[in-house]
Amino acid sequence: MSTSHKVHGLMAEFSDGDELLAATRRAYEAGYRQMDAYTPFPIHGLAEAIGFRHSRLPLIVLLGGLTGTATAFLLQWYPAVIDYPVNIGGRPLNSWPAFVPIMFELTVLFASFAAVLGMIGLNGLPKPYHPVFNVERFQLASKDRFFLCIQSNDPKFDLTQTRQFLEDQRPHEVAEVAP
């Protein structure tokens, strides 16, 4: 099975999101784990069908937001109380209610950066080269075609058997993905 090392995987093309979803579920039932599906728009349940359980992204955004809140409070508290205290009619130096608007703004700012950079980072982007782009028809994945790729690093992967499995899902076409 030396050939299996020379390919990234096998890719099946479907013309409908529901067919892809059904095929992905059957592939998971058949025991395939190292696979990915590619679609022109988000399809609900597809990530779960591949075996993806939950994302750490919301936690990253929460931590980003809290960092923003703390940064903004310290940014205002330090000058107002320690570095440049101004006595205005005996009012408290640590006038925290007046610090709330900027604390809110920086919470949103930091959380937004956490959401965007977190999403890009967890997704492993930017990634200028990826083997799936070697498939001629894959450019339609950003238009109106749906793809399922079973990767050769899956322990169950076998060039002939996996191809047979994919053919059974009645795809439009099955292609080998050059690494």
Binding site: A47, L57, A141
Partner: protein, 469 residues
């Protein structure tokens, strides 16, 4: 049960959010061909030339301002906040509709937003860019604008954290940054589509780099949707906070006509009102020129009309409350300010704003008016003018006659004020014209999702439709 059926029937009678002939593939083609075509429409060049000339007028006005100082503007004591602040509030308000459409309507699952959100977000960015110019130029010495930010400077000074003007620096810069992030995240999958469809080698490389190598993986989409939804959730309170803080810039001062607790909510409503008017002003001609009537449908115009009507009524309530509080407060200065607005030297501005913002939007109660593009277009322009007049009235009439008659004065914008204001309109239009040529003005991936849902709902399987083309 019967009520539910009735609602369903009314919903069926509404014009569709997207014309039924579109498929997942053809909707992408339709939107991307505007960008990827080799033949740039001739009127586009004309538009660029015209707005470029107007932008040059803006740069000229700014150049002369840097040379001479703010004395070339009409601002003086007692009216030290003239056109610059009027324009700042007007532009930032226009920007707010973009965030409202992209964030609040996303959270409320209003699918009709899909056709207009990208464009409205771009409008937000360019409007905020125009807005940001004014307070900076108004500083007098714009080259030391960085004094606004907290940093350990050699003067040993810090910003005044208890001032709404400092909050505003943070609010507007956060708003600009988050709007840009939101817009870019929305663009990533569409940039990948352009990368895959582009024939031109340079375009392919540029779109490829900008799309970060997006390949539409299911796991990526999963995280993407989480990030997009969270950004929507963050941008929603942000947009409210930004214009509330702009309202507090005024409410924090003790000038009659400014010192009012109604300002933050009334400013937010006014911002959405003027922003939707601007979205209507821009999309009505665009959908016509680019043949997008099947994507930006009559349903969108109808909905925008309804939002203008609702926010217009909130604004009208704000005006009524200002008059009522002026009377009910039993405060000499408040009541004088109120009557001076209505019958003083700037009465023309006040009645013009009442006409533009209260009388004109009454016509929006009629469905016929909301669904006739040309009429809605004219109304939207009147509202844009009205909202500019509103800020003019708030800034100028409040300042020109305050407590002491000895310090009263009159104000009028000079030619440099007008050149700067009209110049930003040209600059805004130039940015939009360049944007629609190089980036998809409608979110393609969201349209694909919408079309696929519609096809399933309609009982025609997407498969049949896809095999047709």
């Amino acid at each position: 049960m019967a009520g539910e059926q009735k609602i369903r029937r009314t919903a069926d009678m509404l014009p569709p959010v997207v014309a039924p002939q579109y498929t997942v593939g053809s909707v992408s083609d339709k939107i991307s061909e505007i960008v990827l075509t080799k033949k740039t429409p001739r009127p586009w060049y004309f538009g660029v030339a015209l707005t470029m000339v107007i932008s040059l007028m803006l740069f000229n006005a700014i150049g002369y301002l840097l040379l001479k100082g703010v004395g070339i503007w009409g601002v003086d004591v007692p009216v030290a906040w003239g056109f610059a602040i009027v324009n700042f509030v007007w532009w930032i308000g226009i920007g707010h509709a973009g965030t409202l459409i992209s964030a609040i309507l996303l959270l409320l699952k209003q699918e009709w937003r899909t056709s207009i959100n990208r464009f409205a977000e771009a409008m937000t960015l360019f409007a905020v860019a125009c807005a940001g110019m004014f307070p900076l130029l108004h500083l007098g010495r714009p080259w030391v604008f960085y004094w606004l930010f907290p940093y350990p400077d050699t003067m040993g000074l810090w910003p005044q954290w208890r001032s709404p003007l400092v909050w505003d620096v943070f609010a507007v810069s956060t708003y600009a940054t988050v709007s840009l992030l939101f817009w870019y995240v929305g663009l990533i999958p569409d940039l990948a589509t352009l990368r895959d469809k582009a024939q031109n080698g340079i375009a392919k490389v540029v779109y490829g780099i900008m799309s970060l190598g997006w390949r539409g993986s299911a796991i990526h989409w999963h995280r993407y949707e989480i990030a997009y939804l969270l950004l929507g959730g963050l941008a929603t309170p942000l947009v409210v906070s930004v214009h509330s803080i702009v309202g507090m810039d005024f409410a924090g001062g003790i000038v009659p006509g400014w010192h009012s607790t109604i300002f933050p909510p009334y400013f937010v409503a006014g911002a959405i009102f003027s922003g939707f008017a601007m979205v209507a002003t821009l999309t009505i001609p665009l959908r016509k020129w680019y043949g997008l009537e099947g994507i930006i449908t009559i349903r969108h115009l109808d909905n925008m009309g309804k939002i203008m009507l609702a926010t217009g009524l909130i604004v009208a309530y704000g005006y009524a409350m200002e008059v009522f509080i002026g009377y009910y407060s039993d405060n000499t200065y408040e009541w004088f300010m109120t009557t001076n607005r209505m019958f003083g030297p700037y009465a023309w501005a006040y009645w013009m704003l009442i006409f533009c913002n209260i009388i004109t939007p009454i016509t929006l109660w009629s469905r016929k008016v909301r669904t006739t593009p040309i009429v809605l277009f004219v109304i939207s322009i009147i509202i844009n003018i009205g909202m500019w007049m509103e800020r003019y009235v708030i800034v100028i009439t409040s300042l020109h006659r305050d407590f002491l008659p000895s310090s009263w004065g009159m104000y009028a914008g000079t030619q440099w004020d007008w050149m700067t204001y009209l110049g930003t309109l040209g600059f805004f239009a130039l940015c939009l014209i360049l944007f629609i040529r190089v980036l998809p003005m409608i979110s393609m991936f969201e349209m694909r999702q919408l079309v696929s849902q519609y096809r399933e709902d309609a009982g025609t399987s997407a498969q049949v439709a896809l095999q047709e083309d």
